[in-house]
């Protein structure tokens, strides 16, 4: 229960920071996907089921503050969370570079899903070089912020009985 509250708080904090702090910290007019990076951390910590569901909820919360149709971020975050969760189950060792690598690749994958889904539902100009430029910049930015976001969110996502069943990685 407390874990769920912690994860809900992460969603609220991500939405607030995304709509305030990161509007001032844009690179070439592009902000990172803080919510998506948090989803990657949760999916890595807890697997595909939680990754998909948490991705959907985080995306839905983010969508409420975007001018693109509600559900687009939910769709891309859910698929990305699921994919990272599946990938995580097959990984035996981790690396210190895990957070930036996952942030970069996850950001790129999530961005590509977003623009593809956007194009399919009829959003104009989604499949364009400008969209690819935005996705690329955002994914690099995601890689940069991931080392800051991952430890906090993974701690929030950790199950309350984790001390009894501590999983050793890498």
């Amino acid at each position: 229960m407390i874990r769920r509250i912690r994860l809900a708080l992460v969603i609220v904090v991500c939405v607030v920071l995304q709509t305030t702090l990161f509007t001032h910290l844009q690179i070439d007019g592009v902000a990172p996907d803080l919510g998506l990076v948090a989803v990657l951390a949760v999916a890595w910590e807890d697997g595909p089921d939680t990754g998909a569901i948490y991705g959907f909820l985080m995306g839905l919360a983010v969508d409420l503050f975007l001018t693109t149709p509600l559900g687009l971020s939910a769709l891309s975050f859910a698929i990305t969370g699921y994919a990272v969760g599946v990938f995580q189950t097959g990984v035996v060792r981790t690396s210190p570079w895990l957070a930036p690598i996952l942030g970069g690749i996850g950001g790129l994958f999530g961005g590509l899903v977003f623009i593809t889904a956007g194009a399919i539902v009829g959003q104009p100009g989604m499949l364009s070089f400008d969209s690819l430029r935005i996705v690329l910049i955002a994914s690099v930015y995601d890689a940069v912020i991931a080392p800051l976001v991952f430890p906090i969110v993974r701690r929030a996502a950790r199950r309350d009985d984790a001390r009894a069943h501590w999983r050793v990685r890498g």
């Binding site: 709509t19 702090l21 693109t68 623009i115 104009p124």
Partner: protein
């Protein structure tokens, strides 16, 4: 066997989430009152947190912006930028007014936009995400702002259109900029001292310029000249007053017989540097 069942359950969860997402997208695209209410409620809940965060972030951001240059210079720069925007708007609008005058004479009951019908608001920050062009303003329904209201800069009657309200909560609103790829407005070019072709001005995804498309057979034999000003048509189906300046043609497009001809418009104000805007209540609310 158990693993296979577990995998199937996982995939089913994902498929259900994808279907739900697509259903929500479809609902939102059609315009759902429930989704609009959810957005308003979410904005109302998060707005105080955003204000608190802005209260901390804005001074730091301004301080960082001001690093390496004197505060006085920055103030002067902002003042000059506002004056430049107003001057550009006034020059463009003056040109538009010449042609508008003839139309006004024909339409005696044309509503006028007065200062009393405008709500002044501060531009708080950009909004809408990486794939749209929008900004958040400091006032909402509590100040009388509603959905679809046009947002302008400049003096009343000589105003330049900068966007429209697409989300609104009690104390803030999101304004979609005119250069957003999903923005479109009926427009008419003003050429020298006559009315030019009518058409549609739309934002473009990969450019900050707007695309002006001549609609139907509207004066297709007339060239679209560099410097021609596009103003809002004020259709009955749109909530824009006629005569708001949208932008100026960047490059001449020669006359021709083709029905579809495009020109590019540059907005008369710098949409990245807006600090104060006016939201127009249109049609004006009658004074009791």
């Amino acid at each position: 066997m158990d693993i296979s069942r577990h995998d199937r359950r996982r995939r089913l969860t994902l498929i259900l989430l994808i279907i739900t997402s697509l259903a929500l997208v479809s609902l939102d695209e059609r315009g759902s009152g429930i989704i609009d209410s959810a957005r308003t409620a979410a904005q109302d809940v998060v707005s105080p947190l955003q204000d608190a965060a802005d209260g901390v972030i804005d001074p730091v951001s301004e301080w960082l912006d001001g690093l390496g240059r004197a505060n006085e210079l920055q103030d002067q720069n902002e003042k000059l930028r506002r004056e430049l925007d107003a001057a550009r708007s006034a020059v463009a609008a003056a040109k538009a007014s010449l042609a508008e005058l003839s139309t006004l004479k024909e339409v005696l009951d044309l509503p006028d936009i007065a200062d009393g019908d405008a709500i002044t608001a501060d531009v708080v920050d950009s909004a809408g995400g990486n794939f749209s062009r929008a900004f958040r303003i400091s006032k909402g329904t509590a100040a009388g702002i509603g959905l679809e209201m046009p947002v302008v800069v400049g003096a009343a009657g000589k105003a330049a259109l900068v966007g429209k309200v697409v989300r609104v909560s009690a104390n803030s609103a999101i304004v979609q900029r005119i250069d957003d790829a999903t923005f479109g407005v009926g427009a008419q070019l003003v050429q020298a001292d006559q009315n030019g072709p009518k058409g549609l001005a739309e934002g473009q995804h990969d450019s900050s310029l707007l695309r002006f498309t001549v609609v139907g057979q509207s004066l297709t034999s007339v060239a679209l000249k560099k410097g021609d000003v596009a103003i809002t048509l004020g259709n009955a189906i749109e909530k824009y007053p006629p005569g708001l300046v949208i932008g100026a043609v960047v490059q001449t497009v020669d006359a021709g017989g083709a029905i579809a001809r495009n020109a590019e418009l540059r907005p008369v104000v710098d949409l990245d540097s807006l600090t104060i805007v006016k939201v127009l209540r249109y049609p004006p609310v009658p004074v009791p």
